[in-house]
């Protein structure tokens, strides 16, 4: 007896795991750069993040009596942990990675129903949780190219490391501190900010957020492979750049220029790898434009007037929450209908009305 299948009897060569693998491939350059810039502790931290996510997701699936293998093989959990690791301070202790990864895949994803059901981007939810719960560990930065040996690195990541001795500051954090000391922008930036360095990434910052150029290259790769569309990334960059430009024109002594904002912190990574997360972003092109724009604007607002130096994760979560609202109100026009859903007028009806 043949089982009768419904059309179509052909499928595009695409799959969830292929999408995830493509995104991971796009992350390879910036990740390798992060390893090179920050040494072995970064490698350890990344590895621990991925391992914790796999173990945590497997346990969560087992607990729900759901199939473990297909869910782990789709690569979504690994990608979440990878993105989280890239947003962590590279010399953060191992348990930061473990707690963050477990929170991301178990609380932010599996509790909501697993792949495709989560409201918030798991990596960003975990980052926000870590930032609020462990502010100290989440804001210790190292100067670029501090590369301890293999064993010393073990001590950095797994305990006993002397973090204070090497602590530095990210650019955004530094500027915020200087502002709170009453200094102007020019003084705060002096000796700390060189746009070219920021572009290619030799500076203090999160594991995978310092090289705007390599992130951009990864993003262009995803665009070329049609894994993502341009709408959300461009809108997010515009959402950051436009208010920055405006404020910089109004008061250049206090508000940094758009380039500074685009190249700092997590904006680039978020624009190409976070706001393009299909699960937590809107369905339509216009919706994605609004979503990206909101993420950018909120990031700028939080950075500039909020109490945290960086606002990307908060901005993304706020816009994640707004996504169902956007999807409810922004729908494509259906063929043969007006935007309101009424059938288009026929030639005869038009004649009658005239």
């Amino acid at each position: 007896m043949t089982t009768i299948a419904h059309s179509p009897h052909a499928r595009a060569a695409n799959s969830v795991s292929r999408i995830m693998a493509t995104v991971m491939l796009a992350l390879v350059p910036v990740t390798l750069f992060g390893f090179w810039l920050n040494g072995w502790p970064a490698v350890y931290l990344w590895t621990v993040s991925l391992a914790a996510a796999l173990v945590g997701e497997a346990a969560a699936l087992k607990f729900q009596r759901r199939a473990v293998k297909p869910a782990l093989l789709d690569g979504s959990g690994v990608l979440t942990a990878w993105l989280l690791a890239l947003s962590l301070p590279p010399w953060a202790p191992w348990w930061i990675a473990v707690v963050g990864s477990l929170f991301a895949v178990v609380i932010a994803k599996q509790v909501f129903g697993g792949l495709g059901q989560n409201v918030f981007n798991p990596a960003m939810a975990a980052r926000v949780m870590l930032l609020i719960s462990f502010p100290l560990e989440m804001t210790i930065w190292v100067p670029p190219m501090s590369q301890p040996g293999l064993l010393d690195s073990l001590a950095v990541t797994f305990g006993g490391g002397q973090l204070d001795a090497v602590s530095s500051a990210s650019l955004l954090g530094h500027v915020k501190t200087e502002f709170s000391r009453g200094l102007g922008l020019e003084q705060a930036l002096a000796g700390h900010y060189a746009p070219l360095e920021a572009l290619w990434g030799r500076r203090s910052g999160s594991l995978g957020e310092t090289s705007a150029l390599l992130i951009f290259i990864g993003g262009v790769f995803l665009l070329a492979r049609r894994t993502i569309t341009w709408h959300a990334p461009v809108a997010m960059l515009a959402g950051v750049a436009l208010p920055a430009l405006l404020m910089n024109l109004v008061a250049p002594e206090h508000y940094a220029d758009p380039v500074y904002h685009l190249l700092s912190g997590g904006v680039m990574l978020a624009a190409f790898f976070i706001v393009t997360d299909p699960v937590t972003s809107p369905n339509t092109a216009l919706g994605q434009l609004l979503f990206g724009l909101g993420c950018g604007l909120l990031t700028y607002v939080i950075r500039t007037w909020g109490s945290y130096p960086e606002g990307v994760a908060f901005a993304v979560m706020l816009m994640n929450a707004a996504t169902p609202l956007i999807d409810r109100n922004i729908k494509p026009r259906i063929y043969g209908r007006t935007r309101q859903g009424a059938p288009l007028m026929t030639r005869h009806a038009k004649k009658d009305a005239a």
């Binding site: 299948a5 052909a10 060569a13 969830v16 495709g116 699960v279 494509p332 063929y335 059938p343 026929t346």
Partner: protein, 492 residues
Amino acid sequence: MKLFKMRGGVHPEARKADSSERPIRILPLPPLLHVPLQQHIGAPAKPVVRVGDKVLAGQLVGVGQGHVSAPVHAPTSGTVVAIGDHPAPHPSGLSAATVTIAPDGEGRWFEYEVPADPFALAPDDIAARAGAAGIVGLGGAAFPSSVKLDASRQSGVDTLVINGGECEPYLTCDDRIMRERASEIVTGIRLIQHAVGATRALVGIEDNKPEALAAMRAAAAATDVQIRAVPAMYPMGWEKQMIHALLGREVPAEGRSADIGVLVHNVATAWAVQQAVCQGRPLVSRIVTVSGGAVVAPCNLEVPIGAPVQALFDVCGGFRTTPARLVLGGPMMGQQIARTSVPVVKGTSGVLALTQAEIGLTRPAPCIRCSTCVRACPVGLLPLEIAARVRSDDLAGAVALGLKDCIGCGSCSYVCPSGIPLVHFFNYAKGDLAAQARSKAKQETTRKLAAERSARIERIAREREEAAAARKAAKAAKEAAARAAATTEAAA
């Protein structure tokens, strides 16, 4: 030449090269032809032959019933050996009323009258001849052509669009017929144009068929028929997509193309009209593409209606491997069949024997809301959202999101990275809606009948009462008159 921008659509691997260079061959007559009485949308035909009757090729064996229907003719000369149930070319595998004919191999035609100048015929005469020839839409929908022609003439169309899109992968039957029988097609187009009084005729052909475009251009050179290349994409062959590409006009929802002054017919239908009007040959055969990875030598065949699918595969050298799936039509919208004993019918554009590798991923994964389906939908729907409603039995929600506007093209299912059978959900829900509508109509009828019955009972009772009252009144009047007479008498 202006072309209008499409939205949505997909670019499935065409896989046409296997058969596109194979000229049309005539399928040798199989020992039996199983001619179903319903090969079209509408009411089935009623048989007008008896078992044992000798029939000629083109002779009527079933007459159309009702307004939307089509007659059925004998594909070749021979003897009617059975009238009864035979497996229908449908996924259900159920049987349908079928006239089985044993060919005598002589191929003698029933002689129909042929006009000296077909363009001198009255427009409604052309439609009538197309109807009598059993012509239905050969693009796959199999809607009776004469019904469309009549309706278009009555409502008035200015433009005839001839669909040479053939956007389904594998299929090359329209490509071949355009290459090999272009002048007949052009004559057919001009006849249809004459029949409906359209002021212009446009033929849209996908730009992946350069030879067909050239052949059609050459054939149409001395006529007003315009040949246009349209971009190759699926579903370009959806008539509304073709209209949009060529004219930039949009058919209103719940409406038909005639509402915006356009009539659409397939190229093979135009050929069939020419055959019927100029040659007096009813629709008794069609071009079928036989292809798929499991077929030894894919090809294009001219097949008598009623030939079993197996005969087509046999002519193509049989199977190189056991096919994973047999499909009638194209892979995007075609239907799977369980066995090869089912007959080719008027709407059969292709028979495919596909391998598992060609079918692709089958186990669905969770939806990741990637909205690839939203970008693929040519109608502008949100397939992922509608599917979510259907899954949770929220039919009203699905309808509110535009379920009824779905054309079932399968673009969403094709591109879904999670392999979710989206269009299957929609067709299932449409079936549910139809069932609901039927049961509602039934309830409505019952309610109406009950109301009529109580009204009738009331009326009878009232009439009876009125009659009684009238009788009483008459009696009283009579008595009064008698009394009056008595009084008068007494007074006198």
